[in-house]
Amino acid sequence: MFFLLGSASILLALIIRFYRLAGQWTESGQIIFQNILMVFFLQFLIVILALFYGTSIVSEEVEGKTLPYLSSRPLSRASIIIGKYLSSLAVTSIMLVSTLLISYFILNLDRDFQLQDIWTIVRYALVLLLGLAAYLSFFTFLSTWLARPILLGLAFGFGWENIIQYFPGTTQKLSIVHYLKSLLPQYSSASGRLSFLFIRLEPTADWLAVLILVLITAVFLALAALLFTFKEYLIQD
């Protein structure tokens, strides 16, 4: 299903492309990609991918009663979590990057690609990957902590993250999406028709945003590994 969801961005890109070919849309593919498809990737796809894969990391093994197969091997318990995290990150990254690239190229087929364009798409991909890693790490932590993490994950991913980003001042810095938006130029300099999507963003400096996202990833992953090492999981009959 998630591949299907990822492909929705490709479908969207195709629809926009045909619409543009029909002369109904005059803005460049680059602008459309940045302002429209990135909303889909940033505020929906990476959150839902991370939510599903992250919250499943431990609960799937516990509910499926397959945890003893892993925890009776000569691996530290932390490495089980980190291994599962990395494999989930790999799978979701492939989904994300492939659909991102395809939809980008569909929208910009008529463009003479410059080095600058390559950098733009690499930058978008990196920002989304950073976001994916951070969300996945947070949801992995929830998975090690709670027996049923998905509802809290939903509340965080689609509730807290959506609401808090529109708050002024320091409050909005309590969300992951704030740092992701800070790294994307269109959010810091939005104007016109799409500005309602970006209101009140008070961006954090690039280097600091990257640092904080890496820190969020590392801290929650470490917490998840630590919790999994010392917590026991009862397999219910």
Binding site: G64, K65, T66, L67, P68, Y69, L70, S71, S72, R73, P74, L75, S76, R77, T229, F230, E232, L234, I235, D237
Partner: protein
């Protein structure tokens, strides 16, 4: 020589429910069976000695090393959990090879070991089929295969014969005996006495989280024989039977079930009782419809031993 598995004052409870209580145990090479009714604490004990659960009090050691959070021990230990749970979408071969990769074997060695294990449990011909399509017996065998594929010295098998047909049971019993012959230490749990008898004579009886008897099967049987047995005989001449047997000193009690035309005897010498009953059938004009032992099950044995 120190024991392979040692448990010192093990206690574990789940909220208000007691799992095991102050359990002291040493297990050596060979097959040892943990026998007890459902909920006796067998699985809790097995989960503790395989590092799946923590203890509230006490400590479990294998080869002198603590088990909880000690990953190194798992190179020498194989665990077959009780639950019928798998990564259903994997084939039997992928399941084994995937788990073997966690031991750091090269992929070639992992695959070779997986094939060997599949051969041992006689699943080579279905190795490429998804586990979800396996029968109950196959699933049980693939579960054992994952526990033996890395050639451990200690095998912990939680209810390996549960729910199997006689043919599958025989296969698994044969397999377990082969491990024993290669010098391994095996702990098997079961709640069925005849199953355990077919496997080993070294038995630990566990009930309500405590060890209530330990020894070879004959010792346990003797222990059981010191307690009275109940035998229910259904016959149209049940009063005549009762009258004759009342004179025997090994008959301790009798209770009539007139509606059922049956009488329940309590005796502390089953062999003499049955010899006498056989004689009566041959010499007297009595017809016996049915002989049953209302308490000839494990729960009754435990009830006797714990003095209920």
């Amino acid at each position: 020589m120190t024991a392979v598995i040692e448990a010192r004052n093990l206690s574990r409870w789940y909220g208000n429910v007691l799992g095991i209580s102050d359990l002291n145990l040493e297990i050596n090479q060979g097959i040892t069976a943990l026998l007890g009714p459902n909920g006796a604490g067998k699985s809790t004990f097995m989960k503790i000695i395989t590092g799946q659960l923590k203890t509230n009090i006490g400590e479990a050691r294998i080869f002198g090393e603590k088990v909880w959070n000690n990953r190194h021990i798992f190179r020498r230990l194989g665990f077959c959990p009780e639950d019928d749970a798998f990564y259903e979408e994997l084939s039997g071969f992928e399941f084994l090879a995937g788990l073997l990769s966690l031991y750091g074997f090269s992929s070639a060695e992992g695959e070779q070991r997986a094939r060997q294990a599949l051969e041992l449990v006689e699943l080579t011909d279905v190795a490429d089929r998804k586990v979800r399509s396996y029968s109950r017996g196959m699933r049980q065998r693939i579960k054992i295969a994952q526990a033996i594929a890395h050639d451990p010295e200690v095998l912990i098998l939680d209810e390996p014969l549960n729910g199997l047909d006689p043919l599958s049971k025989r296969r698994i019993i044969k397999l377990i005996k082969e491990f024993k012959n290669s010098g391994k230490t095996i702990v098997v749990s079961s709640h069925i006495l005849p199953e355990v008898e077919a496997l080993t004579s070294e038995i630990i009886l566990i009930h309500q989280g405590k060890i209530i008897a330990r020894g070879d099967i004959y010792f346990i049987r003797d222990l059981i024989d010191t307690h009275p047995h109940m035998i229910r005989v259904k016959s149209p001449q049940f009063r005549q039977l009762a009258q004759t047997l009342a004179a025997e000193d090994y008959v301790l009690k009798m209770a009539f079930e007139p509606l059922e035309q049956a009488v329940v005897f309590e005796t502390h010498d089953r062999d003499r009782f049955f010899n006498r009953l056989n004689e009566m059938v041959l010499t007297l004009p009595v017809i016996i419809d049915e002989i049953t032992s209302p308490d000839d099950n494990l729960q009754a044995v435990f009830d006797y031993l714990v003095g209920k």
